[in-house]
Amino acid sequence: MKIIAAFEKTKELSYTSHLDVQRTLQRAFRRADLPLAFSKGFNPHPKLSFATALATGYTSSGEWIEVELDRDVTPEDFTERVNAALPKGMRFHSAFIADDGFPTLSKMLVAAKYIITLYTDTPVTMEELGSAIRAITESEEVIVEKKTKSGIKPANIRPEILEAEPISASDRIAVAAIVGTLNAAGGLRAETFARALFERLQTNGRFTAHRIALCFEGSDRLPRLR
């Protein structure tokens, strides 16, 4: 049977990588005695896939996965048992059973919402934050340096930015909410947006990103963009 569910990743566990999370989930399922189904063949691998990966260092309220299990289980039972077997900082919610023919999550994924917190070297006011964000959303092109296989190249990320708005600014902490495209081919990276924002605020510093939601199209059981 196939279960679709979301998990949150908070606190220190945000510093684990995508590969770490895969391992942690596989082991947690075994501890919960909810064995993952394995693919057949020479090198069997568990049938567990993610809507998308979360960058190391980001927190999230809802990372969606689909798992094939060897045993039938109710969504409530699934959530309860896996949560009891997960380390502090990871927790499942919103589980449901996927019918046959339910499309894969990565095909339905369209966007992601983030809260970005900038810890700036110099103080930033709410007005400055607002105008810096407008400078991004109101321009035709937002050129950033993007790392590609053939080196660092300039790229226009404006089409990937769907929404952006200031939330708060006090002294050296500026917070913004953004929505960016995200699908199997790629999309807006919170880090790229944060760098563009630092540039327009004419300051430097570090940032943290929290993914509030992944947005899908094609199923009313999953969060939508609007």
Partner: protein
């Protein structure tokens, strides 16, 4: 914390919060279990896993972990003036009652200093008082405690399962009574397996170690290595920690036995873990099941120095494999002996997952193998690899050493010849009976003479000689189909030889080298041979004297202040036999008398 973690390459090394991590609210005694290497290595260490359980099972004791910070974290901690912290509660080491280090490798000693310095703890025990944590060290390196004797307050020699709780109880009681550090050390000196270095003073004559003077009447003349008599009932890991990031040995570890009866003359572990003690089949089955259930791991490793020698192996192995196959858990044996390997076991193991196959003939010719008492013949090896190749394996890794005592060029070339015969054994099989992509990996390390072995008197080959032998081997391996040569760099093994058989004067060299920037010396990218050379020079000592000088058979040896049960007289007999290429039988076939007068009390094989 975010400030630090966002600045390092692998933040998961420092976050803790692993599955099965101990969380405690109420405790009155804090123990920092420290490992002077990175998380991935320290977390793989079996002894630390056992001690974490043993200590946390004690009432009111909270044992937390701390690993050496990688250089990026060290820089971040210094930049923000933050102390090094434990993984469980993120507390600085200064807040602990005991800070204990596991010493498995001499080339980690500089990392001990990093960890002390980043905690604001003075390096020398003489500079620390009651306000500092008690600095303790244990692990195999402490059979020669002298090179760190000025730094550590209390040195533990031997098995820790019973020793560590006794240490903790003694320190806890002393603290309750509020007695001085000196008085506490006197009490600790009475615990079997404890060596208090400050109660002993080495004397040097003509630039060499001459003898040790005992300074305190409470200290035994020769502290004796601690041995857990009954391994079967001894505490084990219980709930093994499951790391987030991949570690070196990322699997359930089951220790089937401790000690080894073979008596390979170069092998320090073979001497210092005697006598052999086995766990029963039932205990092992139960521990395996429990560990798999509470960790969710899908791989189990049956550990020991020589698992193939476990007396019930051929009934245990099928039972464990069947038991685990149901849960799709694979079973591996890291240390198969060539002569103990059975075809059935191979086939059985292959049904679960095909792991790598490794053999350690250690030397290329029979004469050389007789010198080191590695009682394995060429026929044994060729039979074993042929079995493996027939069972579907198409790669094998062979471990060798060069620079062994009495070694000639013929012995070095013999390594290539043996690899050639292994290669032929593969290609002799009919094409439809063998796999493709054959590889024979020849891994060659440089011999390091270790204390408490039959070779503790030997001179290590000089670096130029090792390089020449490596070159000789490289040439000889040309034309062997599928052969691949891995040689370990020889520069580091000189320093390793120095510290293995070092005396107390090396403490100041160590601190000096650390201050010249030496860190993570076992990592090629960090090893600074020039800084080490300067540190020796500045302290008026020569590496050459320690590494490349043959000791006279009656010369006093700095590590003989401690008693590891195996007697110097036995080692002398073994050294004499080695020089005549005479072998010594496995002690399961009859006692060789290695414990001398300790035999009655400690060895009941």
């Amino acid at each position: 914390m975010d400030m630090l973690l966002s600045r390092v390459e692998k933040p998961a090394r420092y976050i803790g919060s692993e599955w099965n991590m101990e969380r405690k609210e109420v405790y009155d005694f804090r123990f920092a279990l420290c490992f002077p290497d990175v998380y991935e290595i320290g977390m793989s260490h079996l002894g630390s896993r056992i001690l974490y359980r043993v200590l946390n099972d004690m009432d009111g004791v909270y044992c937390e972990r701390c690993y050496a910070p990688w250089t990026d974290m060290e820089q971040a901690l210094r930049a923000f003036h933050e102390p090094l912290f434990t993984l469980e509660t993120k507390s600085p080491l200064k807040d602990f009652d005991i800070v204990g280090f596991s010493l498995l490798y001499e080339m980690c000693y500089t990392n001990v200093l990093t960890m002390l310095e980043l905690s604001g703890i003075p390096f020398l025990s003489s500079e620390r008082d009651e306000s500092n944590p008690l600095i303790v060290a244990g692990g195999p390196c402490t059979v020669n405690p002298e090179p760190i004797a000025d730094i550590v307050d209390v040195i533990l020699i031997g098995d820790g399962e019973e020793l560590e709780p006794e240490l903790v109880e003694c320190v806890r009681q002393a603290k309750r009574e509020g007695i001085s550090k000196a008085a506490m050390l006197e009490r600790l000196a009475g615990i079997k397996g404890v060596y208090i270095p400050s109660f002993y003073r080495p004397v040097y004559e003509n630039g060499r170690y001459a003898r040790t003077e005992r300074l305190n009447a409470h200290a035994p003349e020769h502290p004796v290595r601690r041995v857990v008599r009954d391994l079967d009932t001894a505490k084990y890991i219980g709930r093994q920690l499951v790391p987030h990031m991949q570690i070196v040995h990322d699997r359930v570890a089951v220790e089937v036995m401790r000690g080894c009866t073979r008596g390979c003359r170069f092998c320090q572990a073979g001497y210092i873990y005697r006598p052999v003690r086995e766990r029963t089949e039932e205990t092992l089955l139960r521990q395996t099941r429990d560990l798999v259930t509470c960790t969710g791991y899908d791989e189990v490793s049956l550990l020991s120095l020589s698992t193939g020698d476990y007396s019930e192996l051929h009934t245990l192995l099928p039972r464990i494999i069947d038991d685990m196959a149901e849960q799709k858990v694979s079973v591996s044996l890291p240390s198969l002996r060539i002569d103990s390997l059975l075809k059935d076991d191979l086939e059985k193991m292959q049904t679960v997952r095909k792991g790598g196959l490794t053999f350690a003939p250690e030397a290329g010719t029979q004469r050389m193998r007789d010198v080191i008492n590695k009682n394995v013949t060429e026929d044994d090896l060729l039979r074993a690899v042929t079995d493996a190749f027939t069972a579907g394996w198409c790669g094998v890794k062979l471990y060798f050493m060069i620079g062994l005592p009495t070694e000639t060029d013929e012995d070095v070339v013999g390594i290539a010849e043996l690899a050639g015969k292994v290669s032929n054994a593969f290609y002799r099989l009919p094409k439809d009976k063998r796999g493709s992509g054959f590889r024979v990996t020849v891994s060659v390390s440089t011999f390091v003479p270790k204390p408490w072995t039959a070779f503790q008197w030997c001179a290590q080959d000089r670096q130029e000689e090792i390089v020449r032998k490596q070159q000789l081997l490289k040439t000889a391996l040309k034309g062997v189909r599928g052969a691949e040569l891995h040689c370990h760099p020889s520069v580091l093994s000189v320093l390793e030889a120095v510290f293995s058989r070092g005396d107390r004067r090396l403490n100041s060299v160590l601190i000096d080298a650390y201050q010249r920037g030496c860190r993570f010396d076992s990592w090629a990218e960090h090893f600074k041979p020039d800084a080490w050379a300067e540190a020796f020079e500045a302290n008026g000592l020569r590496m050459d004297e320690y590494a490349h000088r043959e000791r006279a058979i009656d010369e006093p040896l700095p590590w003989e202040t401690v008693d590891v049960l195996v007697t110097p007289a036995y080692l002398k007999r073994e050294w004499a036999k080695a020089q005549q290429a005479k072998t010594t039988k496995d002690c399961r076939q009859g006692c060789n008398g290695c414990f001398g007068e300790h035999c009655e009390d400690y060895c009941r094989v």
